[in-house]
């Protein structure tokens, strides 16, 4: 307590410094006056009396020093002084300081942004749910390692049979068509177990959550909980929303509550708007047997460990329960075990894939930050050698080693602090940019990343670490300075720094890899813009429908598609119409499936694969892909024709050696198809891809629950068709919404957008690294040159030309640089061969990038070398 009180008083005193000084001065004066009076009374002469009084008092200045030390916190006073000093010396080198601060800020900002992402996925995977990271995935697992999901009956058994887990929660993602007949809108929601909200520990923002009876009995209580956003946008946040009826998949549901703000469901980053009890599955999904049939594994389960239980116990209980089920229900559960997984390892959703990518990215970015630190250290060393004289004077005047070190440290810390501040701003901007990333594809996605205390603490930590890292070398160097040496000459030659040269090489290598990657991405992006897709994208409208809520059969799906096409084709503006399961150049890609074809022996154990798309007749007409041989598929209602397939030219070339394809039989997807035509090659996954073999199957033979409508318009305005297509669908089924309507050009743009993100990132990162590498080289070389002023002076005095001197300096440093560049080049080559094998090697990139990099490196060497060679030899030697 006492020491705390002293600390506060001291801190206060530090602030109230002047008043204190005045008080002490007055007290001393009074003391001496009283003593003088005393001495006068003792009979001394006035002058002698005062002298004796002063002597008796002792050294005033030394006492004042003690007094001050006692009064304030010396450390803080020194620190403030250092900071003032640091501010002054930074403002004397604005250019250098800006470079350091900005490069630090970028490094810290990017790292913090990535960290906030990783942090979100590892520690706060579900916004609004506290302790969400403690949830475990309870996943049935097939023998081959797949995760098929759990059936409802399984879930009910597991709730009892895995006591180590408190409250297992089941949820299933479902598309909902919300709204009155004819005006439906597609939304995504979850069918959930009754304990969903209570187990997640959520409190409703409005209304209430499910009552046990609403969630237990099958299909009785039509209730729904809506998301906060949905409440705000559809009901304008009105309290009356609770109790309102909402028509979902043609069923009236009563809104009973609003989920808390930011809650977006249990499959982040997917964002759900509605939650209905799982027991309503039959009512909402057209009489599905989800609730009874153990082979329909539609649910995803999560649970939290009971206090004191371990995940090993849970795993053991889970495995035992699954084993028992495999014996009891061999039809549905044979061969299915189970695995307890950490939440972030969720097999569904993108977390698992993202997190490894992010970890790599974070690693690379930390490396980048390290490069920045190395640069800064080198720059500071170079500057430090200029400041030796200043430091020597300080040491000579009595500054301790620690004072010198702390002086350097505070200067660098101030730089680091400024960099961190700017970095935090960049991080805030970066995470916000991530949040508003556009909704991509048919699913609503929201990354709930944010900058919070943890993230800021991370940024601070990075900043402080950087400060220390790049302070260490100059601080140690300057603190060891012998004042006599430092004052006498400028030639104090510290040992040659191998580390800084190695660092320079590493930096160049890193820059090389990233620059080549950037160039390759930009190149592929540019060629994508110009490449011929070999189909006609202009004038085509795309839109999707989904029969999920209607529990269709193969026959009804086929009939629905046939009727839809008839109606669409009867529209005056429609030139041609078709339905397909997949659209080329899609983000998710088109599946490639294995097959066997008559007349082709599989070459190796690996199965042959070809792109597989299921299309209706008329598809090739809509897409503008000519059939080079044979005919289009048989009509949808044609029951006589055998199952048909159309292959592309590449398929014929690769698997049939160009022989006649028509008439051969092809086995794929569990059926046998007769090849009736050959279509021209076109682009399937990405622009500029090499030709891929493809198999088209007929919608007639393999109807699907979802379909992408393709419409070719007669007029130039394909967007106008959206309304007509919507009306047609409404006529056929008033509850079905038409969703994801876009022109083919928009579809392509949207997918290019995602390719643009890495392209952009590399486009920014590449020049940044090039700049950093250049700064690094500059720093190392100018430091080396500053140390060797005398040597250079001697050389010049003995008649070396400045050209020779420059040449020698550049040669010495370029050696290391060339090594780094070569290693980076080989690395980039290896990566590109492995990753981008498809596109063939882009030779020009691999030649131009090294040329640019080496050019910049040479320039960065040349500037300080040139400066050194300009020294007047006489001045250089005299200076020594």
């Amino acid at each position: 307590m006492k020491s705390l009180r002293r600390l506060f008083t001291r801190l206060f005193n530090t602030a109230a410094r002047r008043a204190e000084e005045e008080r002490l001065r007055e007290e001393i004066a009074e003391h001496i006056a009283l003593q003088t009076d005393e001495n006068l009374r003792a009979g001394l002469s006035p002058i002698e009396a005062r002298r004796q009084a002063m002597l008796k008092f002792g050294g005033v200045e030394a006492m004042k020093q003690d007094y001050r030390a006692e009064r304030g916190v010396l450390l803080i006073e020194n620190l403030l002084g250092d900071l003032r000093n640091a501010g002054r010396s930074i403002s004397r080198m604005p250019g250098l300081a800006t470079v350091i601060i900005v490069s630090l800020a970028i490094g810290i900002g990017v790292n913090t942004t990535i960290f906030s992402w990783i942090q979100m996925m590892l520690f706060e995977p579900m916004p609004a749910v506290s302790g969400a990271a403690n949830f475990l995935m309870v996943e049935p697992q097939t023998e081959t390692g797949g995760y098929p999901g759990a059936s409802w009956q399984e879930y009910r058994d597991l709730r009892r049979q895995v006591p180590a887990l408190r409250d297992i929660v089941a949820s299933q993602m479902v598309p909902f068509n919300v709204g009155e007949r004819g005006q439906t809108e597609r939304t995504h929601g979850q069918l959930v177990s009754g304990n969903y909200f209570s187990a997640l520990g959520l409190k409703p923002a409005m209304g209430r959550f499910f009552r046990p009876e609403e969630a237990e009995r099958s299909g009785t209580e039509p209730v729904v909980v809506i998301s906060y956003d949905y409440w705000q946008t559809r009901f304008r946040g009105a309290p009356e929303a609770v109790g309102k009826k909402l028509r979902v998949n043609d069923r009236e549901l009563m809104v009973i509550g609003v989920a808390p703000k930011d809650f977006q469901g249990t499959m982040v980053p997917l964002k759900f708007e509605l939650w209905a009890p799982a027991t309503m599955a039959p009512a909402l999904l057209g009489g599905t047997r989800d609730l009874e049939d153990r082979s329909i594994r539609a649910f995803s389960l999560i649970g939290m460990l009971k206090a004191g239980a371990t995940s090993e116990e849970a795993q053991a209980e889970f495995s035992r329960a699954m084993g028992q089920m495999a014996r009891d229900y061999p039809d549905a559960s044979a061969g299915i075990g189970g695995e307890i997984l950490a939440f972030w390892k969720a097999p569904r959703g993108p977390q698992r894939m993202l997190i490894s990518g992010l970890a790599v990215l974070q690693g690379v970015m930390l490396l980048l930050l390290l490069a920045v630190c190395g640069n800064t250290a080198n720059l500071m060393l170079a500057r430090g050698s200029v400041r030796q004289r200043e430091m020597a004077v300080r040491v000579a005047l009595g500054a301790g080693r620690w004072r010198i070190a702390s002086l350097v440290l505070s200067e660098n810390m101030l730089l680091a602090l400024l960099g961190t501040g700017l970095g935090a701003v960049i991080a805030v901007w970066g995470t916000t940019a991530l949040r508003v990333a556009p909704m991509i594809g048919a699913f609503p996605i929201l990354f709930p990343t944010k900058v919070d205390v943890f993230t800021l603490a991370f940024a601070m930590l990075l900043g402080a670490a950087c400060g220390f890292i790049f302070s260490a070398a100059p601080a140690v160097h300057l603190a060891r300075l012998d004042p006599q040496e430092g004052l006498r000459s400028n030639s104090n030659t510290p040992p040659r720094s191998r580390a800084s040269k190695v660092l320079m090489g590493v930096e160049v290598g890193l820059a090389m890899v990233v620059l080549i990657a950037a160039a390759l991405f930009l190149e592929s992006f540019r060629s994508a813009r110009q490449a011929d897709p070999r189909f006609r994208a202009e004038g085509v409208l795309l839109a999707a429908y989904d029969l999920s809520g209607r529990n269709p059969t193969d026959a009804s799906e086929r009939e629905f598609a046939a009727r839809l096409l008839e109606r669409l084709r009867s529209l005056p503006d429609v030139e041609a119409a078709a339905i397909a399961t997949n659209v080329p150049v899609d983000l998710h890609g088109i599946p490639a499936r294995s097959f066997t074809v008559q007349g082709h022996v599989r070459t190796e154990a690996g199965q042959d694969r070809a792109i597989s798309n299921t299309v209706t007749p008329g598809y090739f007409q809509v897409m503008g892909i000519p059939l080079v041989e044979g005919n289009d598929f048989a009509e949808m209602r044609d029951k006589a024709a055998p199952a048909q397939a159309i292959v592309n030219e590449e398929f014929v070339r690769r698997y049939l050696n160009g022989a006649e394809a028509i008439g051969r039989s092809l086995q794929t997807r569990g059926g046998s198809f007769s090849i009736i035509g050959v279509a021209r090659n076109s682009v399937y996954d990405a622009f500029g891809e090499p030709a891929q073999p493809a198999v088209y199957l007929s919608y007639r033979d393999l109807p699907a629950i979802q379909g992408e409508i393709h419409l070719r318009t007669r007029s130039s305005n394909e967007t106008a068709l959206t309304f007509e297509a919507r009306a047609v669908l409404r006529e056929l089924d008033p509850m079905l919404p038409l969703y994801d309507a876009r022109t083919f050009s928009q579809h392509i743009e949207r997918n290019l957008y995602l390719r643009r993100i890495p392209a952009r990132m590399f486009a920014v990162l590449g020049p940044l690294l090039l700049g950093l590498a250049a700064i690094g080289i500059y720093a190392v070389v100018s430091y080396a040159v500053a140390r060797r002023t005398r040597e250079i002076g001697v050389r010049l005095a003995f008649g070396a030309t400045s050209g020779r001197v420059v040449g020698q300096i550049i040669r010495e440093n370029l050696g290391v640089i060339a090594w780094g560049a070569a290693i980076g080049w080989v690395l980039a080559l290896a990566i590109s061969v492995r990753v981008i094998a498809k596109g063939g090697l882009n030779v020009s990139v691999f030649l131009v990038v090294p040329a640019i990099l080496l050019g910049v490196a040479t320039l960065a060497c040349w500037i300080p070398a040139r400066r050194a060679s300009r020294i007047d030899p006489i001045a250089a030697l005299r200076h020594e």
Partner: protein
Amino acid sequence: MKQKTDVLQGTLALMVLKTLDVLGPQHGYGIARRIEQISGDLLAVNQGTLYPVLLKLEQEGAIASEWGASENNRRARFYRLTREGRKQLQAETKDWEQTAAIIARFFEAKAEDLP
């Protein structure tokens, strides 16, 4: 010289507290005089050392100070003992007596006294 100040630093605070306890409120010079009178030459050289000690005690809350008029009617800073200071003095007096007693016994003890 160094040893002398070390002793001073340790004991000066206690002397100041005792002085204020006996004489009541005093200014710096008064305290210095009193200590000088009692301790002989100990403080003769550096009266100034008193002031950092006074400040430390004030910061600890053992003494408080305010401006007042000195004997010859000039402004002087008067120090007085606070309640906390009195408690501290009692505690330290006891400590000091104990320490002194122990040291005294050590000096008196001779080899043959030991068993």
